[in-house]
């Protein structure tokens, strides 16, 4: 009986690929993107039924729109920087295999804290430039503090009570949205949903504008990116994060205090979220609503993951996604589609293509010669070839 039992071998196995040169991987990525882009544009063409190249032109125009009197497409650059910032904020926890899905919420509470300071300190800030600088610094500190608290709560529960951080951080997002809605309502004295732009006339607590409104925020985000890159790559903390990420038991075995490392990393993540929140309130929106961050916190998860946590690739993918988001939204408005569904389909397609592309760059399929189906297919093909030769 035992001899009769057949050993089942799968048709193929997935094997890690380590022989692919870097330049080839880059070419594959670019080729995949271009092919998917033109395929996506074909879908646009079938939906819109207008000139194919005109649609592509509209998309490019929409993405790179330059405001009156400006020479750079600041909006594209700012959107790219924001997505990059969100992704950078979650890189450290993700490297540690701590799935922080709460970047949106952490940024929101930070932005909210900054707005509250800005709202109540207007009278103090308008007295002098020095006072205004103090208010801006207080806004930054309040934002960082709020974001750190929001990031650390799930981490504490994770390390001391073994709760699931994915669910916890997700739930914290909803709490943050509700809190923003409520505080807005209170600030507007229950007369409307929000006070709108805070300090619109006095501009108290507003970040200074140099070159362009978005210039300084972009520089700050680039600086954060460089700092985090060095933090992860070159410091002892960064090394500890990767050890915890590879194996928490190994980390414990070599005497690392994993609880401390997890909480410390989330403090770092919270600080970055706090700075993003501050940028939203002080430099960009000067107001807050529950949708301030859109879904950047979630898109950033995909971006960070697909980029294998490399800041340069994160920046590249952020640029591509922001470009497409702005461009497809322009296509939707120019051709009056009445919604952003087509835009979402295209972004989804691109993500899907990047996902598949990254998979095949990192892994390859290895067919098992012993598998029966493999043998059957091989036999079929060899027979056909044989037949063909005979016919000739």
């Amino acid at each position: 009986m035992v001899e009769d039992r057949k050993v089942r071998t799968p048709l193929f196995s997935i094997v890690k690929r380590d022989d692919l040169p870097k330049y080839k991987a880059i070419i594959i990525r670019i080729a995949t993107f271009i092919a998917t882009f033109f395929f996506a544009m074909l879908i646009c063409f079938f939906v819109i039924k207008e000139n194919y190249f005109e649609i592509i032109g509209t998309l490019f125009k929409g993405a790179t729109v330059v405001s009156k009197g400006k020479i750079l497409p600041w909006r594209l650059l700012m959107d790219t920087a924001l997505l990059l910032a969100f992704a950078i904020a979650i890189v450290a926890p993700f490297k540690m295999k701590y799935w922080n899905m709460g970047a949106n919420g952490q940024v929101l509470v930070g932005a909210l804290a900054a707005i509250v300071v800005m709202f109540f300190m207007e009278d103090f800030a308008v007295k002098s430039t020095f006072n205004n600088v103090i208010v801006i610094i207080l806004m930054l500190l309040a934002s960082i503090l709020a974001s750190v608290i929001w990031a650390v709560i799930p981490a504490i529960f994770k390390v001391f009570f073994k709760t699931n951080e994915t669910l916890f951080t997700l739930m914290m997002n909803y709490v943050a949205s509700g809190l923003v809605g409520y505080v807005n309502y209170v600030l507007a004295q229950g007369k409307k949903e929000s006070p709108g732009i805070v300090n619109a006339d006095s501009q108290a607590g507003w970040f200074p504008v140099i070159v362009d409104k978005y210039f300084l925020p972009i520089i700050i985000i680039l600086l954060i990116t460089v700092v985090i890159y060095f933090y992860i790559k070159k410091t002892k903390h960064g090394y500890e994060i990767s050890v915890v990420g590879d194996s928490i038991n190994t980390a414990k075995y070599v005497g690392m205090n994993t609880k401390k490392i997890i909480i410390r990393t989330l403090i770092v993540s919270g600080i970055i979220c706090g700075i993003i929140g501050f940028i939203y309130s002080s430099a960009i929106n000067h107001s807050i609503d529950p949708n301030t961050c859109g879904s950047l916190g979630f898109t950033a998860v995909l971006v960070a993951w697909l980029s294998n946590f490399s800041p340069i690739i994160i920046a590249g993918i952020s640029f591509v996604l922001s470009f497409l988001t702005l461009g497809t939204s322009k296509v939707s408005s120019t051709y009056r589609l009445g919604n952003n569904d087509l835009s979402n389909v295209i972004i989804g397609l691109i993500f899907f293509a990047i996902l598949i592309c990254e998979f095949f760059i990192r892994f390859k399929l290895k067919f098992n010669q012993e598998n029966n189906m493999y043998k059957a297919i091989k036999k079929l093909f060899s027979k056909k070839r044989k037949g063909g030769v005979e016919e000739c």
Binding site: P195, A200, R336
Partner: protein
Amino acid sequence: MKKLFNVLVLVLVAVFAVNLTACGGGKDKESFKIGLICLHDESSTYDKNFIDSMYRALEELRLEESQLELVTGIGENEQCYQKASELAQTCDIVFADSFGHEDYMIQAAMENEDVWFCHSTGTKAHTKNLNNYFNAFASIYQGRYLAGIVAGMKLQEMIDNEEITAEEAIMGYVGAFPYAEVVSGYTSFYLGAKSVCPSVTMKVRYTTSWYDYDKEKAAAEALVQTDNCVLISQHADSYGAPEACETLGVPNVAYNGSTASKCPNTYLVASKIDWTPYYVEMIKAKMDGKTVSSKDYTGTLTTGSVKLDALGQNVAAGTQEALDAAIEGLKNGTIHVFDTNNFTVGGQKLSSYLADVDDFGDFEKETEVISGGYFHESEYRSAPYFDIRIDGITEINE
């Protein structure tokens, strides 16, 4: 690698060059461009009403659909400013449809003086006093008053048929937020009903959301089952309340569109704002190079901005005649919805009231709005400012 970089730089420069050359635009009819910024997309009944009105305006003005740039899903934040500024580069006039867009529209208006920015439901145009920024609303309280007459006629019929007693003529109202817009709406609805059914009273429950099917449904159910209401109306955007009424068999007065097909047995009537006359007037003025003196546009029954949908199958006999008389009265000024003879506050008739007409963000009530025996709603600015809680209406805060 260097070559690749050079090519990339060249492509980017070329793209920006295309953009720069694409800026600007003429004022003749063919090259006239219109932008419309919507909070959600056409799946929301609120935004669909604006979009449909815009298409009707284009048709009326014999403009091509391609002259419209329709932007949907724009939040009430910096996104709105960015979109409005972007549209200002190609469009001659830009409209936005949501209250929270206002500050961002003003910001864009200040930076683009040659483009008109028209914001529906906003409050700040008359205080900002910019040459290119305007507010608009409609005297929808007139429509609510008329819808109230339909409801009152139904209640009176139920009393006459001894289905309910006069004391049991309690209406329920599902409101979104306790803001002036909602208070003005439910009060005019109540006064319309009271004008034909004197014993009517009303209870109001809030959902604290403009669109929440479950909350609106639950509020309608609570009004019927807990608060003993026998007729429901609402100021919220989902089908929650009308569908709850259809299930419970309670008459319903809808808003922003007829629910006759979904709720055939309980639908009575619906009032709504038609933005077409406003769009036509503003686009035409801008196209003809005219100036608009008033910063606020208030559409009325006379301008065709306030409309009632067709009556449902179960309205009381004589409703159409009562409506016709009221419409006539409202148009010729013999009827004022907020006539101070028709309501009391704390048992007293009102002879004076200060309202927060000038929106400086301070919520200070500074403008006398009662004169000549009635509250002058939507006359000193287009957006509603009637926020008085009158006798006969109870707000339930649980």
